[in-house]
Amino acid sequence: MQKTRAKDYSIFTILLVLAIAFLSPIFIVLMNSFKGKFYISDTPFLFPDETTFVGLKNYTSGVAKIDFFSAFGMSLFITVCSVAVIVLFTSMTAWYITRVKSKFTGLMYYAFVFSMIVPFQMVMFTMTKTANVLHLDNPIGIILIYLGFGSGLSVFMFSGFVKSIPLEVEEAVMIDGCNPPQAFFKVVLPILKPIAVTVAILNVMWVWNDFLLPDLLIGTEYKTIPIAIQYLKGGYGSIDMGAMMAMLVLAIVPIIIFYLTCQKYIIEGVVAGAVKG
């Protein structure tokens, strides 16, 4: 007993050291966001002191330089709308192609599964051109593109879940006089809730952090947070490290808040998504 306890303590200590090491990159960025920009590259691992501390100066200049709040609004708008649209339409489609058995629905299912393994670079150029021609290169149009590109994984995950719902439930409500849309929205969709949460979380993580797709479609006019940060680097010959640190902190804060509030769902969703994917 004594031996295992000693062992537990040493394991706990190892984990504690590792956890601190894991958090330190974020902490180092936070620390540097309060330092003058000329001190950051020289002494990134020192606490700010009397000479290096500049208060919130980096934050105010960074927010002004990349127009952080409009980038935040853009990220939020695109993420919320895209994920809502993805969850709504792909759950409907998954129900349809699972319940209606035909050659066409079978083909669709395999097309969706196939799309999951295709890397973005394969369609990067042609998709951008197609979207330009159809005037989808704006914050509204990009939602449709996200639906199209996100439908593979989402339809696949919803379909797997729909297969496990007994048909009798839907048959019963439809005999009672519901038409299919009523049956879907009143009965099926509430049953799909757990998988809908998983699908939503996986898509939030993707869309919120996505860089290339919005950059190619709308990046020059409307910037999301990742694009604004990339442009902060690219646009100013010698980069303002102070503003950069402050903007990195502001980019991380919403994610950490989201993570700590939905932690249980996020971890469950990731496990479920991994097993399915």
Partner: protein, 280 residues
């Protein structure tokens, strides 16, 4: 019932099909066609057969990117999975605070690739500054930088999947092995690892495809510097499309090759998984 649902095709299936067609099916087919043509816009495409593919494979930058990507992928898959598995083993013992540890280790995964790249650029340059060099003065630094970044990002994710797998191992089997006098390493090798094989397969696949397709982190950390030596495949394709006029067709051919490689990895993985399932 099937018949009455079928009538609602336009409501249930059409919106997704249209979006899927615009975002994926048309661009995919068009992409394959364009890889055999010379073009600057989609309308002026001229059929040239395999010319783009020949040009792609005689392009030193592409071959470098391929080599760099393969080297990076092998090493990151190994390191991430070994560390994630060890962490998962430690975190499935009944210790205090395991939930807090899991939360912390998983967190980097939610931060986007661009932000991750710049966080680590600061840290690496801060360390290398003491030796009078920078992250981009030698490709070796960029390589190891990407390995460390990738480990930081993905260890927690894979750990979560391994934890789920290890928790599903029936305790009585492990107990029985222990009573029979099996050593710890024997239990690990002959009981635990075979039983968490499904998790191992998933984690190998996820780390493999994530490492192989890496883009954002690569762009933010080194952007390929010095002189494109740390460019991975995805970044090389991007630079071919948007950095070299007249090379669009070659870019598309590179993209098709890239897709074929990713598909091959997925297929091999699927075959292996199936075989494992039969054994179980």
């Amino acid at each position: 019932m099937e018949k009455s649902i079928k009538k609602y095709f336009a409501l249930f299936a059409l919106p997704t099909i249209i979006a899927f067609g615009i975002a994926f099916v048309i661009p995919f087919l068009l992409g394959i066609y364009l890889s055999f043509t010379e073009f600057t816009t989609v309308n002026d495409a001229k059929w040239i057969g395999f010319g783009n593919y020949i040009k792609a494979f005689s392009n030193q930058e592409f071959l470098n990117a391929l080599g760099f990507t393969v080297k990076f992928t092998v090493l990151s898959v190994l390191t991430i999975n070994v560390f994630a598995f060890i962490l998962a083993m430690l975190l499935t013992r009944k210790l205090k605070g395991t939930n807090v540890f899991r939360t912390i280790f998983f967190m980097p995964n939610l931060i986007g690739g661009i932000v991750l790249g710049y966080i680590w650029q600061l840290i690496f340059n801060g360390i290398l500054y003491k030796f009078g060099v920078t992250l981009t003065s030698d490709a070796t630094y960029g390589f190891w930088g990407l390995i460390i970044l990738m480990n930081w990002q993905l260890i927690g994710y894979m750990m979560i999947i391994y934890v789920a797998g290890i928790q599903n191992v029936p305790k009585d089997i492990v107990e029985a092995a222990r009573i029979d006098g099996a050593s710890r390493s024997k239990i690990l090798r002959n009981v635990t690892i075979p039983l968490v094989m499904p998790s191992i397969t998933i984690c190998l696949f996820l780390t493999l495809s994530n490492s192989f397709k890496l883009f954002d982190q690569n762009l933010a950390l080194t952007a390929g510097a010095p002189s494109k030596q740390t460019s991975m495949l995805a970044l090389d394709i991007y630079n071919t499309f948007y950095g070299k006029t007249g090379w669009e067709g070659v870019g598309q051919a590179k993209a098709v090759v890239f897709f074929a490689l990713v598909a091959l990895i997925a297929l091999v993985q699927l075959v292996i998984t199936r075989r494992k399932e039969v054994e179980n």
